[in-house]
């Protein structure tokens, strides 16, 4: 049966396609922000991304965040209100 993808699924899929990550964890933290500006009923507003990919080797923190923000530009311009990012290259201290 056809099902609408959750924002978390969309974010996970886009990051997989863009960065071929060694590890990727996308956490919906919307429930932690209930009552806070930006929260909407149903959630899917606040996400945390932990990603490890070769694509980040030799890149600055700013560059890594910009690469991820660009990949998720559509989501960030839409329903996603906050995105916490931890982006490492393999072998870097987490």
């Amino acid at each position: 049966m056809w099902q609408i993808m959750s924002a978390r699924d969309t974010i996970t899929q886009k990051l997989h396609e863009a960065f071929g990550p060694e590890s990727l964890d996308v956490v919906d933290e919307s429930h932690l922000h209930e009552g806070h500006a930006g929260h909407k009923p149903g959630g899917e507003t606040h996400f945390r991304v932990n990603i490890v990919s070769d694509a980040f080797a030799g890149k600055s923190r700013l560059d890594r965040h910009r690469m991820i923000n660009a990949t998720l530009a559509k989501e960030l311009a839409g329903s996603v209100h906050a995105l916490a990012i931890k982006a490492n290259a393999p072998g870097e201290a987490g």
Binding site: H33, H36, A37, G38, R61, L62, H65, R66, N69, A73, L76, A77, A82, L83, A84, I85, K86
Partner: protein
């Protein structure tokens, strides 16, 4: 004055500027609050600009930095990053080093 000119003037005439939700005394977002705590801990003076007071400023700073979220920290006219980057730099001692390298005075550490 356009919003871009306003932002440029602010980041160039103040050593450290934080674009945030709420004020340094009363942050209205947890991420902005974290950066306030870090800057206060480091002991650096800074100017807080509340994007909740102006949709122009809120949209303007996102475009100016090409960065989709608030807060945003500037040091000597240069974009440093948002909450995650500022926190990681602080924990690694890099934020303190950046301020020193740029010649920004901080209060004597406790």
């Amino acid at each position: 004055m356009s919003i871009e000119q306003f932002i440029e003037n602010e980041v160039k005439s103040n050593d450290v500027v934080l674009f945030m939700k709420g004020t340094p005394q009363f942050p209205q977002c947890g991420f902005s609050g974290q950066v306030v705590q870090i800057l206060d801990h480091v002991g650096v003076g800074y100017k807080g600009l509340n994007v909740l007071e102006s949709a122009d400023l809120r949209d303007g700073i996102k475009a100016y930095s090409n960065w989709p979220t608030i807060p945003q920290l500037y040091v000597k006219g240069e974009f440093v990053g948002g909450c995650d980057i500022v926190r990681e730099m602080f924990q690694a001692g890099e934020l303190q080093q950046l301020l020193a390298d740029k010649g920004v005075t901080v209060a004597a550490s406790a």
